[in-house]
Each structure stands twice: as C-alpha cells, then as structure tokens.
C-alpha cells in the first residue's frame, strides 16, 4: 500500500512549487511566448494578405495596361485609316480639279479655235467676194472691150434664149 498512500510532505511541496512555477512561467514565459507567436502569426498572415493584394493589383494593373495598349493600337489604326482616306481623297480631289481644269482649258481652246476659224472663214469669204468681183470686172472689161465681142456675146446669149 506504500504506492497508493499519498504523502503529506510531497503534496505540500508539490502544491507550493507547482503554484510558484505556474505563476512564474505564466507571467514570464507563456505570456511573452504566446504573445510573440500570435504576433508572428498575425504578421505572417498580414504579409500573405498584402502579397495577395499586391498580386491582385498587379493583375489589375496588367489588365489596364493591356486595355490602354489596345486602345492605343486602335487609335493608331484609326489614325492610319483616316490618313489613308484623306490621302486618297486629296488625290481624288486633285485629279478631279485637274481634269476639270483641263476640260475647261480644252473647251476654251476649242472655242478660240472655232472663233478663229469663223473669223478666218469670214475673212476668206470677204476676200473671195472681192476677188470674184475684181475677176468679174476684169472679165466684163475684157469681154466688152470690142464690138465684135459684144456682138458675139449677144449672139451666144441670144442662142441660149429660146424664142418660143
């Protein structure tokens, strides 16, 4: 029964020293240790959370970068397209104006030529009329220069005239 007989001395020392060690360890060991472990856990958690946040931000930044890039690209394309259109329009306009101008010049040229031609024709006609009158004058003069000739003429004319 020695084994299961509690000893007052041992119980006394155990109560006293266990209370003391409970107090000392509770105040100077467990409190700082648990506090530090907790603080460290929290800081690790915070660090992980902020890393996660940074990752999210990075992702957001990346997507916005991509968006901006795409926008820039679209804008460039639009600008290029505009430029092309403007260039084509300018060329077309220039062509148009040039052809119109040419047309106009041609028309004027043609009108001028016509005018010149008409003027030349009327001049020519006047000349021809003058010449013809001079020739007729000369012919009349030569035809009616002698009596015989006047008689011959009268005869020819008379021949043509039918006395019926």
């Amino acid at each position: 029964m020695e084994l299961v007989r509690p000893s007052i001395g041992l119980i006394f020392w155990m109560v006293v020293s266990f209370s003391i060690i409970l107090f000392i360890l509770g105040k100077f060991a467990w409190k700082p240790i648990l506090g530090m472990i907790k603080a460290r856990e929290e800081s690790i958690e915070n660090a992980l959370a902020s890393a996660e946040r940074a990752k999210e931000e990075m992702k957001a930044l990346q997507s916005s970068n991509e968006r901006i890039l795409a926008e820039a690209r679209a804008e460039r394309d639009a600008m290029l397209k505009d430029a092309r259109e403007i260039r084509e329009k300018m060329i077309a306009d220039a062509k148009n104006t040039a052809s119109k101008e040419g047309e106009r010049m041609l028309t004027t040229a043609r009108e001028n030529i016509q005018n010149e031609k008409n003027a030349a024709i009327s001049e020519l006609k006047n000349q021809v009329a003058t010449l013809s009158i001079e020739i007729a004058e000369k012919i009349l003069k030569s035809e009616l220069s002698s009596d015989e000739k006047q008689k011959a003429l009268v005869n020819t004319l008379l021949k043509d005239v039918n006395l019926n």
Binding site: S7, L10, I11, S17, L34, M36, R40
Partner: protein, 388 residues
C-alpha cells in the same frame, strides 16, 4: 539517420546495463535494530549483505518505485537529502544520512529519537516505536520525489525562461535552437488541445495552466525514463503528485464554472424530477470522479512503466539465483524486452502528458460552455463522457 539510431540503441543498451548493475547492488535486506549509533557502521552493513537470502523482486521493485528519504546512486553511494519534520514541539531538520545507508539507524533529535520504518519516519523510544508521538509528527522532508520535482521545475524554468527571452529578443523571426524544439509542442497544446476543447474565444485564460501541466508531466515522465541521476524517479507515477495535478484541474474547473454548468450538474434541464433524484447525485459524484480518474490514469500508467522495466531486470536475478548460465540467458531476453518497453514508454510518456492536458481542457471547456442550444450541449456532454 541509421547512424543516429545506432547511437541511440547503444545508449539505451548501455543505460539498461547500467540500470541492471544499479539494481544488483541496490538490494540489501534490512534487519532493523534501533541502536542509538549515529554513525554508519560499514562492517555491519557488509555482514548483512552476506546474510542475504532469496531475491525478493516485489520488495525491490516497490522500493525503487516508491519515494525515499535518500537518492540512491549506485552501490553504497546515495545522495543524502534533508529530513524536515514538524513535531508538536517544533521543527526538526537533519540529513537523511543519519538514518544510515540502509535506513537502519536511529537519530536522536532535539525533541524525539527518529528511525525509518518502511520508508516512513517514526518516533522511537526504549520500548520501540512510539505510535502516539509518531501520529503527531508530519514529514515535510525533501525526499527523492521532492528533489526530482525541484529538478524538473528548475529545468522547466531554465528552458522556458530562456525560450521566452529568445522570443522577446528577436520578435517576428523564425524560431531558433531550443525555441524551435518547444514551439511545436506549445502550438500543439494551443491548436490541438486547448482550442478544440475550450473554444477559440475562451481558451486563452487556461493556456498557462495547460502548458505548465503538459510540460511538467512531459518533463518528469521523460526524466523518469532516464535510468541514472537526475532521472529514474517515478515522480508522475507518485500518487501525491498526480493527485495535486488533478486537484488543480478540479479547483480551476470549480472556479471558472458558469451558471450553465452548475445548472446542468444540479438540475439537468429537460429531465423529470424523479429522475433528477437519481441523476443529480451521480452528476455530483462525477465532478470528483473526473479528476480522480485523471489522477489514477497518470499514476497507474507511469508506475506500470517503471514496474515493467524493473520486473524484466528482476527476472535476471531470479533466474540467476537458480543457475548462473540461466541468468545470463534470461538477461539477453530481458534486455531486448526492456529496450522494446523503453520505446513504448517514450510514447506513453508523451501520451500521458497529452491525455492529462486534453482531459483537463475538456473539463474546462464544459465548465465555461454557454450551451447555446440543447442539442449542442448534449453533444458536448457525450464527448466528455466518451473520452474518459
């Protein structure tokens, strides 16, 4: 890794051998004669040894498992420990060396003459043991168990105060050295014992007690497994120590218990009154039964471990008395089994520390439980019951 295991094996074997030799020399039968000689008589002792009869394994084992007024080292060498007696006339302090190595000497103190009877200090006079005076003295001696307890506590103080210092010195850093050795255990007690049994919100106030109990039981269990000084003492297997630890749990439970808990003890809700007449006494008994079971479990497990180790070595001497060759043969078998039991005891040492802490935590948890709904509470109750 393999190398490490080998070293450990060698260590275990050599310590087992050492232990065996300690046991061999430790056994000396004691014929009491309360002579008034105050100095040890070596001739007397050797004569006694020669008179040695049969080997009494039971006596030897009990002597080693039980408390003692001196700390036996090897052979005739013991560390004397102070004997402190509170008598009706005053306090007596003297060294246990006065009782002699075999404890067969008496010491004439200031108030009475003292001697040892079955490891207990008794008052003697010319007629023999004076029962009347013996009843009046109380033994507050620093016995082997008390000394071992002090050593365990000093070790704990040294370990945890230095660990606490390294925590405060580099806060927020990864643990180093001793710190990384105890931190997993502290986290284990916090996350796997306290939090699930008490609850995330209320566990904090119980942590100092749970940690202190856990490490006290763990340290003394492991020290008890070391077969030489300052280990080898059956401290947690002493009923007084287990009783004090369990009493702490009981007292703390009573202090923190809320209205809800007492209501459940004295008048379980939803139970008809006739049944309550039977149930309430059982519940009240249960209050004390739980720490009692805690005490018995720790005491029995650790004492059993010590007894088994000693029993295997006793076999060597029992068979050795019959035949030397047989004794040698059995010693081989004993060694193998002791090594095996040693490994088992390493596990048991941890397991008992864990179980004691876990059950204490569960009792605290049920004491502070608010019991939001009846359903939940019934579940808690069942958990506490089945874990016994």
């Amino acid at each position: 890794m393999a190398n490490k295991i080998n070293i450990f094996k060698h260590f275990l074997l050599s310590s087992a051998l050492f232990f065996a030799s300690t046991v061999a020399f430790a056994y000396e039968p004691q014929d009491k004669d309360y002579g008034q000689n105050t100095t040890e008589n070596p001739e007397h002792a050797t004569n006694e040894e020669h008179k040695e009869g049969g080997f009494d394994a039971g006596k030897m084992i009990l002597e080693h498992v039980a408390d003692n007024h001196q700390w036996h080292m090897w052979g005739h060498t013991s560390i004397p420990l102070p004997v402190i007696l509170k008598t009706d006339k005053g306090i007596e302090v003297f060294s246990s060396v006065r009782f002699g190595h075999e404890g067969n000497l008496s010491y004439p103190g200031k108030y009475y003459s003292y001697a040892l009877e079955d490891g207990q200090v008794v008052v003697i006079d010319e007629a023999g043991i004076n029962e009347e005076a013996t009843a009046k003295i109380t033994d507050f001696s620093i016995t082997k168990n008390v000394a071992s307890m002090f050593i365990t506590m000093i070790l704990m103080l040294w370990v945890f105060l230095s660990v606490a210092k390294s925590y405060t010195k580099n806060p927020g850093k990864a643990p180093k050295g001793l710190q990384s050795f105890v931190e997993p255990l502290i986290m284990f007690v916090r996350d796997d014992v306290a939090k699930p049994s008490i609850g995330d919100k209320r566990y904090q106030r119980f942590m100092p007690f749970l940690l202190t109990v856990f490490f006290f039981v763990l340290f003394s269990n492991y020290l008890g497994l070391v077969p030489f000084f300052p280990g080898g003492v059956n401290l947690t297997g002493s009923i007084s120590v287990a009783m004090v630890l369990a009493a702490f749990t009981l007292v703390i439970t009573f202090f923190v218990a809320n209205k809800h808990y007492w209501h459940h003890v004295f008048a379980m809700p939803g139970v008809p009154i006739p049944v309550l007449i039977i149930l309430t006494p059982i519940e009240i008994l249960g209050l004390f039964l739980r720490p009692f079971v805690l005490m018995i479990r720790l005491f029995a497990n650790i004492t059993a471990g010590h007894i088994i180790a000693l029993a295997f070595f006793s076999l060597i001497f029992i068979f050795g008395e019959m035949n030397t060759g047989l004794g040698l043969g059995v010693s081989l078998f004993s060694l193998v089994f002791t090594v095996f039991m040693g490994f088992l005891e390493l596990l048991v040492a941890f397991l008992q520390a864990y179980v004691f802490t876990l059950l204490s935590a569960i009792y605290f948890g049920s004491a502070v439980d608010e019991g939001h709904d009846v359903h939940n509470h019934v579940d808690d109750h069942n958990v506490a019951r089945t874990t016994h």
